[in-house]
Amino acid sequence: MKAAVILLPGLNRDRDMIAALTKISGTAPQTIWQTETSIPSDIDLVVIPGGFSYGDYLRCGAIAARMPVMQAVIERAKAGTRIMGVCNGFQILLEMGLLPGALMRNAHLNFVCKEVELEVTNAGTAFSNRYEKGQVIRCPVAHHDGNYFADGETLARLEGEERVVFRYANGGNPNGSVNDIAGIVNEGGNVLGMMPHPENLIEPAHGGDHGRGIFESALDLALA
């Protein structure tokens, strides 16, 4: 599968994401700058990495979500291309309306940078099928605005349709997210947004490779 990474001013996890995709797939992803207006149709996975696009001015991800390339991301999402947003990328996907809800300031107001445990609550998605349902994996988080919020009706729909893919496990919710939500998919199952950073736990040098399965799933790599 061919992957692409969206680049925006202020992102700082783009290189980590490119390194992870290159390491796991064996091929460097294409990079796409924010002012481009189309994404090649042979791209199978579009990743919006983490960081602080536009310095988090106005609201996290709000300005990035209105850049020209995002219209192309919406078109690719509608066409079924896999789209993955991590951290600021998740905030951008919510601001674009590709996923429901909003990410607010962490409930305790502190920036959080540590490792958390995630429960894989749905192992049937294009982003989680290398895991078992109920499996608990480790994953780093680093954010100030990761407190997921959605109204009751939206939450009931997300839960009812099993669109919560990752949940903070064992009482380790680092930001106050409602229902311990760490990652969700869209209705079509081809758009994933998550606050934790799986690209930072993909090899022994990172202290573990628990994040690798997300990329192996998303890239649809042949199972070893």
């Binding site: 607010m104 300031r105 919020f149 959605a150």
Partner: protein
Amino acid sequence: MKARVTVTLKNGVLDPQGKAIESALGTLGFDGVGSVRQGKVFDIELDHEDRAKAQTDLTAMCEQLLANTVIENYTIEIQ
């Protein structure tokens, strides 16, 4: 023409920053503060005097960028 747009969190949405400010006001000895909600103010200058157009444009600005209507309300005052 000048306009002021105020964006605040909707009722029922937890406002952690407002809560922290509320608690700090108590620490400073201000009693009688029921609750604090924080928000944002945008002062926008428009280079025309057409109030109807201003109202339409400012509403569109709020809906498209200035407010996240999932969690925020906005009010528009044209001066």
